[in-house]
Amino acid sequence: MATTPTALRPYKLPKRRHWAVSFALRQPLGAAGLLVILVMAFGGIFAEFVAPYDPLDIDFGAMLAAPSIEHPFGTDAFGRDILSRVIYGARTALTIGFLSSFIGCTLGAAIGIASAFFGGRTDMIVQRFIDVLLSFPIIVLALVVVAMIGRAPLFGIDLNLILAIAIPIMPKVERVVRAAALSIREMAYIDAARAAGFSNARIIFRHMAPNVAAPYLIMLTAYIAQAILLEASLSFLGLGVTEPTAAWGLMLSGNASDFYREAPWMILFPGLAISAAVFAFNLFGDSLRDWLDPKLKA
């Protein structure tokens, strides 16, 4: 015994690879999602160079033009190039999506960790408040916030819109992070930190926060998708981004539906853009979760 057997049943061996390569190979869907995100980010950042036209250029000579070589996605009721507007729309969507998800997730994570760490009465009060926020459907809360704040442009972006999207995200993230933080609080290394006489701030920032980084990152990605969707919905309802800024949801609202028959491309392409962006972020977020999870347990 203990000799090398001669006839072992064969199977394929995985190789050791760079983490990025191993992510791409083990999460092909996620890698595809990431690729789409990168392409959109590139288009959004360099819209001035990528887009064939100025998105605001009105050309009454080419109203409701069907897709062609000059206008691959056609034009809208003002003769504006839809492809260019979709490209500039990526800038709007990604900026608002990222900022509102970042604000919502960071706020939620901060409150979640603090609530879990201090526990007791503090936790009780915070959680009742979160309960209240969670009782509003996301879009209803966003609508109320939009109505509340009014327009407050900041660096060309509507701050009210970002907050309206960030605030409903916050309580959801808070719950998840709190649950994670509660289990971390029970870990022996937190007891060791307390026994070593470390300050609360040190325990929270040095010992608890880095350990909720993985769920935080996963949620950040997932909520960018939600935020893009929510921004589109609000803009569609006329309560988000306002004309003439190029935004996907806005392109679907108003008179777009008056031209179902005449210009279906007007609703087709912006919708595809929203779907593709949200799809890509969800795909990437899912794969990120699958990929980070086993590592956390190991």
Binding site: V132, I138, V140, G150, D286
Partner: protein, 317 residues
């Protein structure tokens, strides 16, 4: 068990009060109010005096505390006041639209559950195979495609392929079931896809989790048929979290309807809500928010009670 139910019911009260306070004061910090919107809607110049008169008529010039107290008393006695825009009772405005919205919500839920449980289960059992990939793409797409755009695409297709549009005026089920069905199935599909996607994903992940449990290994070690391992041992445990999601998403359907009704030109409560927000119709907004929050909280309660029915650890805890 009885104390559990009583406690859960009592816990609802502070949350509802919180919702009421938050909604009321959030609305009151809005710069400007319905009066300006309303008066300016007719065009022409508006004098300060006119605005003041209208404010007085609507009671907007009273102290906030008094307004809030009035509203609270109204809520408890089910007297929700008059819409500031139309002047009709809020309860009536909502009631005439509720039937349509609830019907869409119920139809969407049925579609969602019928699709989600088999899809989620298949996806979990065939994890990392082509079946799983296909179902995951379908569900992620469900999350990605905005329901209002899906609605537009449905309308567009019906128009292009059948040259037919669903009617705009609502036909109640008891008047003409078929007309009712053909009208509401489309918005139900538009919101149902997302709903089923959310539930299917939850079913998938909870079945995957449950299949890793020790008791599944025990069941296999007893020589239980694999089919029975899934149906009897895994499903009962895996469906508990799925029930939660079904409940929560049902409550949130009201939110999804906000945009979908717009697309299908349906006069439901979602549309009413958007109109109310656009007009700063405080009485209507706050009552609708309370309604939605109450539905959410009650559904939550129902889910918890259902949990108790399915999970002996809670029932006999």
């Amino acid at each position: 068990m009885l104390t559990y139910v009583v406690n859960r019911v009592l816990l609802m009260i502070p949350t509802l009060i919180g919702v009421a306070v938050l909604t009321f004061f959030m609305l009151r910090v809005i710069p400007g109010d319905i009066v300006e919107v309303k008066l300016r809607a007719d065009g022409g110049s508006v004098t300060q005096a006119q605005i003041e008169t209208e404010r007085e008529r609507l009671g907007l010039n009273r102290p906030l505390a008094t307004q809030f107290a009035d509203w609270m008393v109204g809520l408890v006695t089910f007297d929700f006041g008059l819409s500031m825009w139309t002047g009709r009772p809020v309860a009536e405005e909502i009631a005439i639209r509720l039937e349509l919205s609830m019907q869409v919500a119920v139809m969407a839920s049925i579609i969602a559950v019928i699709l989600a449980i088999p899809l989620g289960t298949l996806s979990a059992l065939f994890k990392d195979t082509i079946v799983d990939y296909a179902i995951r793409l379908f569900t992620i797409a469900g999350l990605a495609v905005p329901s209002f755009w899906l609605g537009m695409i449905i309308i567009l297709s019906l128009l292009l392929f059948f040259n037919w549009l669903p009617p705009i005026t609502f036909t109640p089920f008891y008047v003409d079931p078929w007309a009712n069905f053909t009208q509401l199935i489309w918005p139900s599909l538009a919101v149902g896809w997302r709903y089923s996607a959310v539930v299917a994903r939850m079913v998938r992940s909870s079945i995957i989790e449950v299949m890793k449990e020790d008791y599944i290994r025990t069941a296999r070690a007893k020589g239980v048929y694999e089919r029975l391992v899934v149906m009897r041992h895994a499903m009962r445990n895996a469906l508990l979290p799925a029930i939660t999601v079904i409940g929560l998403e049902f409550a949130f359907l009201i939110g999804g309807l906000v945009v979908t009704e717009q697309v299908f030109n349906l006069n439901g409560i979602g549309r009413l809500f958007v109109q109310a927000v656009g007009r700063n119709d405080f009485t209507l907004i706050q009552t609708m928010v309370m309604l939605v929050a109450s539905v959410f909280i009650i559904v939550n309660l129902a889910v918890d009670l259902l949990y108790a029915v399915f999970d002996p650890r809670i029932r006999y805890g």
